[in-house]
Symmetry: C2
Subunit: 295 residues, 2 copies
């Protein structure tokens, strides 16, 4: 069986498969061929790319660098070729997404599972994290970010606006009383999401009020649990509380007063040709966000 891959593409497979043999099996070729071609690549570059061992073969430092760079370049080349050959580009290869945990569960996962079903030759790696500042450039294709954008040399597409709500459980309000004026908030127990916004004064309309609380948690779902348990008032993303609001478990305070929302962005590397997998993912996620009320 002939091989239709270049040595460089084969190298990517080997790194991702974790061993020469695994790569050979996935591609239906002889392991010796994999070995020979990697050696040939190493000789051309005059650098050892893989550290061989029985259990697993790892890329060397140079190999890791080469892998990261090549993956982008070859993805981009594929995008270019799809474009010029007027082929409907089909997402393929490995799509690596980084997103905040709770947002991802609600918005990203459905998109990824849909893409997974739709495109047979696509594999997916989802990194859930709240700390992925500089993950791009380390192999992440798309990162989702809530809040103002930092500088960065990345491209961005605005997916929508995260509206925020001030919520508390009816049990809590029963116990502590319903604040009828914004200034009354300072007398209440607050629950904060960690990060820049935590413990900052809350701005509602033109007014600003300093609030207090003892819980700071970096998980939206954990915060929702705390709210439902009546631990206090929380200023959080509307999407996380839609259900609880509908069921009446949670009450929205100052419903008619405007609260500043957060912009929501997809960040991806700046390149001339954006691979289909990235484009389709962002487009689908955008549609998803619009549809679910993050317009």
């Amino acid at each position: 069986m002939a091989i239709e891959l270049s040595n460089e593409q084969l190298f990517l497979h080997v790194v991702e498969a974790g061993s020469f043999k695994a790569a050979a099996e996935q591609l239906g070729i002889d392991p010796s061929l994999v070995s020979r071609r990697i050696v040939s690549l190493e000789q051309r570059l005059n650098v050892k790319l893989m550290t061989r061992s029985t259990k697993r073969s790892y890329p060397t430092e140079a190999g890791e660098q080469y892998y990261q760079g090549l993956r982008k370049l070859l993805d981009e080349q594929q995008a270019l070729e799809s474009q010029i050959s007027q082929t409907n580009e089909i997402p393929s290869g490995k799509l690596r997404v980084a997103a905040p945990h709770d947002f991802a569960r609600q918005f990203v996962l459905p998109v990824l599972t849909q893409m997974n079903e739709l495109y047979a030759s696509l594999s997916i790696e989802l990194t859930l994290s709240s700390q992925y500042e500089d993950l791009i450039g380390q192999g992440i294709d798309v990162a989702i970010r809530v809040g103002e954008l930092p500088d960065s040399s990345l491209r961005s597409k605005k997916l929508g606006e995260v509206r925020r709500v001030l919520v508390a459980s009816s049990a809590y309000l029963m116990r502590k009383g319903v604040p009828t004026d914004i200034t009354m908030l300072s007398e209440h127990d607050f629950i904060f999401y960690s990060g820049a916004q935590a413990q900052k004064p809350i701005e509602i309309g033109a007014k600003s009020v300093k609030v207090q609380g003892r819980f700071i948690v970096n998980s939206v779902s954990a915060l929702r649990d705390l709210v439902l348990q009546g631990q206090g008032i929380h200023l959080g993303p509307k999407w996380a509380f839609n259900e609880a609001l509908a069921s009446g478990d949670v009450v929205q305070l100052f419903k008619d007063q405007p609260l500043k929302g957060f912009p929501l962005h997809a960040l991806y590397p700046c390149r001339a040709f954006v691979p289909a997998k990235v484009r389709v993912f962002i487009d689908t996620l955008y549609a998803q966000c619009q549809q679910q009320g993050l317009g």
Copy 2:
């Protein structure tokens, strides 16, 4: 003789050589081989890349797109490989520079001739123009820009600051009188460079004065000729008048008053790995600018 080029690289050669035969001769291979490999590439992409003819063969529209994209990607891959293999990267391939005419003659050309002598496998294409807004992305590797940067998705490196001087010939001043106060400038004949700055009030120190004139020219050297011929006062880049000032043909007015300069930038596409040819060019040009008093 074996060929060490991929079909894609060969395609770049063919486009640049202008015909299959020329490419074959440059590479020391048979023209039939060139033909076959281009056909093979066309079949893989399912698109006709070249329009064949006897005298010259041109890329089709798809071919042109593919050429532009590939050139960048392969340059970048080469930069990546040089980096990981710790090879001192040697500038090679085609370096395409766009720069304003007169600035290029004084600053860019020396750098390019030096690079041309230093690097045997480098070829150079210099586009002299004052209108090259969006040339990058159309095959230009580096563009030089005087003045404030527009937005753009390009990377930039500040090369220096173009200091400006207010100059006139002694003959002109003899005839029209030497302005001793800034407000007196409004009574003089001015010569303008075309563009945004033309005919705008001149700001010297804290003062601003509206000036008049009938010449607007988009050439620094032509403007210098006009100044030398005593046609009027000109606010122009200092570097263009250094010689004339030293020889006394031209007199600098309000020498001790600060005049706002223009920033000078090199713009180049945003990519993960900047090819050696681009890096070396910018670095050398930077040194050149610093040395010639554009710090």
